[in-house]
Subunit: 132 residues, 2 copies
DNA sequence: ACTCAGCTTTACGTTAACGTAAAGCTTAAG
DNA sequence: CTTAAGCTTTACGTTAACGTAAAGCTGAGT
C-alpha cells in the first residue's frame, strides 16, 4: 500500500517558502480545492503539484486568473471539437509568449555578460593602479 | 552629418503599442529623462533604447524599481571596487533568476506539448467517430 | 479668428496579490 | 485545567502600475 502523503497548510508554506495567507488566497481564487478534516485544510500530492505549477506560472509573469483558466481547461472534459480547438489556440498563444521570453532572456544575458566584462576590466585596472 | 532621430511621446507610444500615460509614468519613476522643447517632451534614440529595455524587463517580470536600479548602476561611474563588486553581485543574482526562468519555460513547454498532443489525439478520435 | 489634434499637469480611481490584525476554535503537552 | 502552537474566518490596509477624467496650452490649417 502506498500511503499518500498529506500536508497541513503550514507544512506546505514552509515547503514552498510562501505564507499560509497566499495559499488560502489561491484557494479563494479557486486555484486550489483542498480537502477538509474538521475545520482544517488537508493537502494531497495533487494539491502540492498544483501549487508548484502556480508558483512556476507566477515566476513567468502569469496572473492568477490566467493560471486558473489553464487549470480549468486542463480539468475540463475536452470532449467537443470547439473546446479542443480553443485549448490548442491558447497553448499556441502561451507558447508564443514563452518564446518571446526566451528571446528576452537571451538578450539580457548578453547584456549582463557585457556589463560583467566591463566591471572585471575596471577592477583589474584598479588593481594595477594600487600596485604601482 | 547623421541627423539624430527624434520622437514625440505619441510616436513612441504607437511604436511600442503602449499609452502615453505609461511613458510619462516611467519618467515620473525616473526611468526616462527626455529633453524638453518648450512644454513638450522630445525623445532621442537613447530614450527609445531605454524604453525598449524597460518593456523587456517588464516582460520578464521585473518591477520598475528593479529596472531603475539596474539603469542607475549602469549609468553610475563604477569607479570604486565596492561599487563594482556590488554590480557584479547584482548581475549574478539576475542571472540566477533568468536561469530559473529558462528552466520554468522548458518545463512549461513540455507540458504544453503534452496537452497539445492529447488534444490532437482527441480531435482525431472525434473525427473517426463522425466518419463511421 | 477659430478649430482641432496633440501635448501638458493635476488628481483621483482601479486592480491584483497579497499583508496584517483581530478574535476564536482545537488538540497535544505540562 | 490551562497554556501554546497551529489552525480558522473576517475584514480592512497596502503597493505597483497604470487608467481615466478634467482643464488648459500651442502650433498648424482653414
Amino acid at each position: 500500500m502506498t500511503q499518500e502523503q498529506q500536508y497541513s497548510i503550514g507544512e506546505l508554506s514552509r515547503l514552498f517558502d510562501i505564507t499560509a495567507r497566499s495559499i488560502r488566497f489561491y484557494e479563494e481564487q479557486e486555484l486550489l480545492v483542498p480537502e477538509r478534516q474538521g475545520q482544517s485544510r488537508i493537502y494531497h500530492l495533487k494539491d502540492k503539484v498544483r501549487l508548484k505549477l502556480i508558483l512556476r506560472g507566477k515566476r513567468l509573469g502569469f496572473s492568477l486568473a490566467e493560471i486558473k483558466t489553464l487549470f480549468d481547461l486542463y480539468d475540463t472534459n475536452l470532449n467537443s471539437a470547439p473546446q479542443l480547438e480553443t485549448m490548442l489556440a491558447i497553448t499556441e498563444q502561451k507558447r508564443a509568449v514563452l518564446n518571446q521570453q526566451l528571446n528576452d532572456i537571451q538578450m539580457l544575458m548578453i547584456e549582463l555578460d557585457d556589463v560583467e566584462a566591463r566591471c572585471k576590466d575596471e577592477l583589474t585596472e584598479l588593481q594595477r593602479g594600487n600596485n604601482l
